[in-house]
Symmetry: C2
């Protein structure tokens, strides 16, 4: 017995596609839209999605849950597009990595009373339907950011995600965006910056060992998804990047001073953080 | 049939321990020393090492191969300690991540004619005997840096490592150190710097998603091993870190200017590097 019997999913990428797979596997009727017709066709062919929606998104009408799973800039527009048809949906949510702007959009689209922002910490450098898979959310943390005007939907959203194996953390959108600037967006930008430095000097990814390949893995992520995230959370990400640069500068200082004790202390502090 | 029948390994950490396991599995008689008696005892108990050496290292005498597998600063001292007993060894090598200084040490210890520096790109954030495992070198690149005074040993060293599944790249020590500053040491320092920034702001590793955990994995590495590497290759690592900082600064500029096109172009360039 699922908390929803039907779901409409807009966007069949890693997040939306994986969600569709998990819901379908549990017997939820999944209809979906994707601007890439080949993704939609594949999802229908795989039997995950039973009904393809057209670009008007009028077909979301009547679904118990509506999930917007497109890059965060596009999600704002999609919310406005679905608003006329979302009358009976009990849960309207998204999967984006920033939450302040999407909550504002839900409010301005008149959906604020039923919208709960979701952010599953289940990202990956891969993207698109072909990257989607069942079980993506099992054990993952899903942040829930309710709109200020409602609380009731949080219980429903909590059940929706915990049925898929996620654990829930509820927090206000501004707090989420500040926290994620550090815990998600900063590691991403650092990985990209490293990749760009290596690219510029002619070092290929095949030249790296297993550790270096891990550090640069996020550089393979979708440019579209991350441009939107970066724009949405630019101020917080900039502050986090400044802090990382300070740490790198201090490592460089210790290198130039040949200060073994200082280097060892920093490596030891990093390992303590890693292990605790 | 192995290229060596007996090996003496000094240091039973991730590298030395894994090497001992692979050699023992192939029927090579492995004797070893580790300054941590518990590591040595465990290796004897597991049947990997058949003879424990004492700290004089006089017991390396007669071994076909001698492998120094301690942090790169300690390796210099160990080479001098084994020199009086290394008369009949056909191959003397190490596993360190920097090569210029160890080749100088081999020369000054009178071992230059038989020493070939080895650097297996099979590192890991884990360390110590308990992290060692069979098959660590399968598919890994092993850099070989011959001393300027000899060439003959390279064939033997090549066979030694390829028997364990490694592929070989031969290059001069200074070129190796410059290359590895980028392909290995830079990713390491970036991972550490990121971890330190997160630690300072109170973000725990459990707060990260799968991607962020990968980016920070190397921060869990041995401070002793990495202090020695950093010191050995400080000038090259500093230059590489400067390049990474430039890239991060340029990302920050684009964030502050809210320049979507510039951000997207950078993310796209990083992904192109990742996928090609």
């Amino acid at each position: 017995m699922n908390v929803v019997e039907s779901a409409a999913i807009v966007g069949l990428g890693l997040m939306g596609g994986s969600l569709a797979r998990d819901l379908a596997a549990r017997g939820v009727a999944v209809r979906a839209y994707d601007s890439d017709a080949s993704h939609l066709a594949a999802a229908l062919r795989d039997g995950v999605v039973t009904e393809a929606l057209d670009a008007s998104l009028a077909g979301v009408r009547g679904a118990d849950a509506i999930v917007v799973a497109v890059p965060v800039d596009a999600a704002v527009e999609v919310l406005h597009r679905i608003a006329p048809y979302a009358g009976t949906a009990r849960l309207i949510t998204d999967v984006g990595s920033t939450k302040t702007r999407i909550l504002e959009a839900a409010h301005s689209a008149g959906l604020g009373a039923r919208f709960v922002g979701s952010h599953p910490m289940a990202g990956d450098h891969r993207s698109g339907w072909e990257a989607s898979r069942t079980g993506l959310f099992a054990g993952a943390c899903v942040y829930l950011c309710p709109s200020p005007e409602t609380r009731g939907d949080v219980d429903l959203a909590t059940t929706f995600w915990t049925e898929l194996g996620a654990r829930i953390e509820v927090l206000p959108a501004d707090e989420h965006d500040r926290k994620l600037a550090w815990s998600s967006h900063l590691p991403h930008m650092v990985s990209v910056g490293l990749a760009l430095a290596l690219a510029r000097t002619g070092v290929e990814r095949d030249d790296l060992g297993p550790g270096g390949r891990d550090v640069t893995r996020l550089a393979g992520s979708s440019p579209e998804v991350w441009t939107a995230i970066a724009r949405d959370n630019a101020v917080e990400i900039d502050a986090a990047l400044a802090a990382a640069q300070t740490e790198l500068e201090e490592i460089r200082d210790a290198l130039r001073r040949a200060d073994d004790d200082e280097l060892r202390a920093r490596f030891a502090r990093a390992r303590t953080w890693f292990t605790t």
